[in-house]
């Protein structure tokens, strides 16, 4: 058997490598870390700090008074603290380069700085506030109702369990599986970029928490094993060819080969 394995080794090696690589990629994708953010009220000092931070980091596009510039950046008057916390807290702002949409990047500010920025922007005009910890606690939500709300309002862009999907002209709906509950809530409330707004009359605060509970339930993984990205039959088909048929054809080569 050993001699045999040695002899055939070189033929199966590339395939084995592909299989191992694919398995690794899936495994890495399956382990996703989650974190939660705290929220706090902004004081007058914080607002003043926020204004300074804004002038230094945001004003070149949004203007010193945050009223925006046509064709460059929107006005931030009235977008509320929730929008700032989402955009800056996920690293989407400040934007690095113009493109179809601003992608999530490593966050550039501490949560304290973000709160200061949010406090200042919120002081410009009334807008949605950063949700409280209780509002976004998945343990308090009803995941089954969240499933119904999610698939009616969200799944068409973000995929059936929030794995993400493509939009037109290079835009895309990002994966939600690593998004914090607070950011999920804020995104629904403020409708960043291409995303429509889901105000509290459309998706009530309780329903928003249910959606968060549904997304949270996905973090336990798939009952059937590794999820292959949870993007539907295309990845299943690809794996059926590469892995399943690949392994079997590799074994036919062994069956058909002369023994040494």
């Amino acid at each position: 058997m050993h001699a045999l394995a040695k002899k055939r080794h070189h033929k199966a090696a590339p395939l084995l490598l592909v299989v191992v690589l694919l398995a690794l990629i899936t495994a890495i994708g399956a382990f996703s870390a989650t974190s939660a953010t705290a929220t706090s009220e902004a004081s007058a000092d914080d607002i003043a700090d926020g204004e300074r931070l804004f002038a230094a980091n945001c004003a070149s596009c949004h203007g010193l008074d945050a009223e925006g510039q046509d064709g460059v950046a929107p006005s931030l008057v009235g977008v509320g603290a929730a929008a700032v916390d989402f955009q800056v807290g996920t690293g989407r702002m400040p934007m690095q380069a113009s493109g179809p949409q601003a992608p999530a990047k490593p966050v550039q500010f501490t949560q304290e700085e973000i709160n200061q920025l949010a406090g200042w922007v919120a002081s410009l005009g009334a807008g949605p506030a950063i949700p409280t910890a209780e509002q976004v606690d998945p343990a308090l939500g009803d995941a089954a109702n969240g499933m119904e709300v999610f698939r009616t309002n969200c799944a068409m862009c973000h995929g059936s369990i929030g794995g993400g999907g493509a939009l037109t002209q290079g835009k895309f709906a990002p994966s939600l599986l690593e998004t914090t509950p607070t950011h999920l809530y804020e995104a629904m409330l403020t409708g960043p970029q291409s995303m429509p707004v889901f105000n509290d009359a459309n998706v009530t605060p309780e329903h928003k928490r249910d959606v968060i509970a549904y997304i949270d339930a996905q973090r336990a993984g798939s009952p059937g094993g590794l999820s292959l990205g949870a993007i539907g039959p295309v990845s299943e088909g690809l794996w059926a060819w590469l892995l399943l048929l690949g392994l079997i054809i590799a074994s036919t080569v062994w069956v058909g080969a002369r023994s040494s």
Binding site: V149, T152, N153, M156, T168, F198, A220, G225, W254, S259
Partner: protein, 357 residues
Amino acid sequence: MSTPENTPENEPQEGFVDPGLADHRPRRADVEPKANKRAERQVAALFGLSVVGTVIALWAYFTKDAGDGGDVATIQSVNMWIGLGIALAMAGIGFGAIHWAKTLMRDHEMVEERHELRSSDEAREGAIQNLKDGAEDSGIGSTGTKRRSVLKGSLITAVAIAPLAVLVPQIGNMGGDWNISKFRHTLWGPGVRLARDPDGELIKASDVTMGSVFHVIPEGLNDLDHHHKMVEKAKAVVLLVRLDPADMKPVAGREDWSFDGIIAYSKICTHVGCPVALYEQQTHHLLCPCHQSTFDVADGAKVVFGPAKRPLPQLPIAVDDEGYIVAQNDFDEPIGASYWDRLKGDGSSADVEEGSH
């Protein structure tokens, strides 16, 4: 054959000689008794491994069924261990048997002659004669003395139409009431309020803020029984959005179909009927995830990309005294995929349909 066909040379080229089968190379197990014994042990070990696999599968089944089934980790583990057990049980048998065949069974190739598949001339003649005799006996042969053309004709007729006796009622029953004019009508009508999908909460105009998108069903849909709910929902679902009235291009004849930038379109694609639901609030584009037809909500839901040809049908809406959004009327055209007679007036059939409700 009227044409001289160019049957190509398939015989070996003149001069070259078939060298015959390549020399047989003996395997190690053929010449070394030790290797032979080793191969035998390997095969036995593989069969033994299969038994281990069976034990693993049974062990997993009997010990791992602890959870109530709701626990993802338990299901994963039962699934995986039984599966790995089966895989091992099968792999042991399979690899063992093949290894046996490869190392210990004959590997010296044998040669067998082929015979042309064509029957011999004698057999063919015999077959033809038998058929002729049979035809003669029955009297249907055209060469026979008694040509029973009436018999033949009536038999063919009977056999040809007999399936209708079975098929017509069966197929007739399978199509329900066959009333295809139902495609033209949805639950929408004058004064029907718009409700939120899936819970049926009514929607006020003030709820629909700028940049919002509501997935909408007609009021009362959820009161229907399952069958009718599905059928009606498949036609009646609507997408309600609000955009800046300044961005909207007016469509002739539909000036009063929307309300202060709130506008409603059928959610069913005019291509092959998928729910069109990906709304990008900045571009006002609506994308179908199935085949990527893209509609411009700000411009009468016209097609801007993809396989659809027609704009999405618009639901005329208004606001009632209590501030709820209501339909002014049903859609003015059949929703969803195109079909042969979708443009044909529904006059009488519609009345029949109304009456039957």
